[in-house]
Amino acid sequence: MQFLAQQIVNALQLGSIYALIALGYTLVYGVLRLINFAHGDIFMVGAFLAFFAAVLLDLPFVPTLLLSMAATALLGVLIERFAYRPLRNAPRVSAVITALGVGLFLEHFTLASVGAQPRHLPPLIETVVYRLGPVRVTTVHLVIFIVAVVLMVVLDRIVNRSLTGMAMRAVSWDKSVVPLMGVSVDRIIALTFAIGSGLAAAGGLLYATAYPVIEPYMGVLVGWKAFVAAVVGGIGVIRGAMLGAYLLGMVEILVAAYLPSTYRDFIAFGLLLILLVFRPQGILGRREVQKV
């Protein structure tokens, strides 16, 4: 029982980070129908920007978070402007391949310019271990969970309650009618990228706080896993991405906890595959109506 409770705490931390990255995938997909494969690498750049903010500017946690989110948001907008916008009317998959290219570029540009040496993010939060009964919870666990939940609630509000959110949903339904209502599609899409990349940067900083070693390839595996989480939850659906992320975190942790850890990936992905066979649209996704 104590063992299980500790594992659930572990899973919540992992799931929170997956969630912040999965949200970026799902937001961009919802609005543009684009799987932004560069997203994992944007997350990596976010972590590096946070590292530079923390080390060179010597900033504390909150300003580091805000600065890296803002800078990464700008990067997201630039990528959209120069790499994806010219392709908006091209076959959809050209944009996906462009995204793969952008991701590879970000990785190797970082590698060639910053160097291969992994960097250590200085502890921005003092680690204090609390014992809730037999379960050990650290300040890092708490900060990650709280920051992730706050950001997700804010995002959910923006998308479902604000005018901007309404415009985003409108663009996702029908790009051609939106301009008639006086809304700039370009602006909404740029905003979507800004939000998605900002969340990835937040994920990057939290990730680097929990696992304080950063290197240019850190986004690859996490990125793919967050993408899996977004699809499992129902890609394009914000609450689905959150649910999928926590589910993936839980499955990964519990499989390693109760079964031989050698088989973790094998079993975790097998389970997800089975889930998708029965519910291809994801847990919260709606079935697409195909036009005849």
């Binding site: 937001l27 919802g30 129908r33 799987i35 790499a83 010219p86 908006r88 009317n89 091209a90 076959p91 959809r92 998959v93 050209s94 996906v96 391949i97 462009t98 793969l100 290219g101 952008v102 590879l104 570029f105 990785e107 190797h108 540009f109 590698l111 479902n160 959110g165 949903r169 663009v171 996702s172 029908d174 790009k175 051609s176 690859v220 793919w224 993408f227 899996v228 890609i235 394009g236 659906v237 914000i238 050698t262 088989y263 973790r264 990936d265 094998f266 992905f269 997800l272 595959l273 998708l276 066979v277 291809p280 649209q281 994801g282 996704g285 709606r286 697409e288 109506v289 195909q290 036009k291």
Partner: protein
């Protein structure tokens, strides 16, 4: 055409036999051939059928391990070079069976969900090999003789392209194209979409398995890491670089990618930063890839050649190889599921 092929085969044999190219150049040419098979076979699913499968390296892995196990453990050492084709066929068949397993869930899924199914398959296959100690686990498997040679690669590549060409231009291939344009409409027109998908998937994965077998017997060492998502991504890039729905595109894409990366070696570490930048640039300038939906005349059966122009024009207008239900053209028919 057969004359040209025979001449090319003779050339491949002569190069290998007389050492007209040094072994490094031969090795790269063999990689080119293997990549052409991988690219063309994935193009059948992603380019011609308009699906989006991303885990092609999984099939390559199955083919590589099965054929290596046969040549190392099953065949007597002396006989292995003669039985090599058998090992390649077996590797292809095994990969085809795995492809069949993927084809079933893919009946229910389309587009981005297929991406995840194949992605998961890639991770599962890699993880499974890592856990089987009998075939080396993460340490990899070795002991293969260098059975793959330039003539073998050339013959396999030519055969793969021939099979794909015939498949695409047969009735089934028409069904494949129909699925790309509109799966529901194809169904209504009487295309047995399940059967078409099944055949296309199995053929595609079997060819990838053959490529894996060739690969294993050039490098003479395979390990699960050689068949990870990164390898799959590489194949994807070659497909779209060369051009969707075009065998010629696959030949050009795979050759260009393989040779260009070798040629850019002088850039050192920046090589892998510059190469994707070129890819992005190409995508912006030519979104369908270098040869998107066009074909060399030799890769179209004789009695189809008159149709060539028409087919290309027809295809070009409605490409939706992203595999989603909604055409990408901005007529605003995107399906109703947004962030909610």
């Amino acid at each position: 055409m057969p004359g040209l092929l025979a001449a090319a085969f003779a050339l491949a044999w002569a190069i290998a036999h007389h050492g007209w190219l040094n072994p490094y150049q031969q090795q790269i040419l063999m990689y080119v051939g293997i990549n052409v098979i991988l690219t063309a076979s994935l193009n059948l699913v992603n380019g011609y059928m308009g699906e989006f499968a991303v885990g092609h390296a999984a099939f390559m892995a199955v083919g590589a391990y099965v054929s290596s196990l046969m040549t190392v453990r099953l065949f007597p050492f002396q006989a292995a070079p003669y039985l090599f084709p058998l090992a390649l066929v077996a590797g292809g068949a095994a990969a085809g069976v795995v492809g069949l397993l993927v084809a079933f869930p893919s009946f229910r899924t389309r587009g981005d969900y297929l991406a995840i199914v194949t992605l998961a398959l890639n991770m599962i296959v890699k993880s499974a090999i890592e856990n089987v100690e009998a075939i080396g686990g993460p340490r990899g498997f070795l002991g293969m003789q260098r059975l793959t040679s330039l003539p073998w690669v050339f013959a396999s590549t030519a055969l793969a392209l021939y099979v794909l060409r015939n498949f695409i231009h047969a009735n089934l291939g028409r069904g494949v194209l129909a699925i790309r344009e509109d799966e529901v409409a194809a169904d209504l027109l009487g295309v047995d979409t399940r059967r078409v998908k099944l055949y296309a998937f199995v053929l595609s994965s079997a060819l990838a398995g053959v490529a894996g077998g060739l690969f294993a017997h050039v490098v003479q060492f395979i390990n699960p890491r050689s068949f990870d998502i990164i390898r799959s991504t590489e194949i994807l890039v070659m497909v779209y670089l060369g051009g969707i729905g075009s065998l010629a595109g696959s030949v050009i894409g795979a050759t260009f990618y393989t040779v260009a990366l070798e040629w850019l070696r002088f850039l050192g570490q920046w090589r892998l930063a510059i190469a994707p930048l070129l890819l992005v640039l190409l995508m912006i300038l030519r979104p369908t890839g270098i040869m998107g939906l066009r074909e060399f005349v030799g890769l179209v059966p004789r009695d189809e050649r008159g149709l060539r122009g028409r087919l290309a024009r027809l295809g070009y207008g409605t490409v939706d190889s992203g595999g989603g239900a909604a055409p990408s053209a901005p007529e605003g028919s995107a399906s109703p599921h947004g962030p909610a």
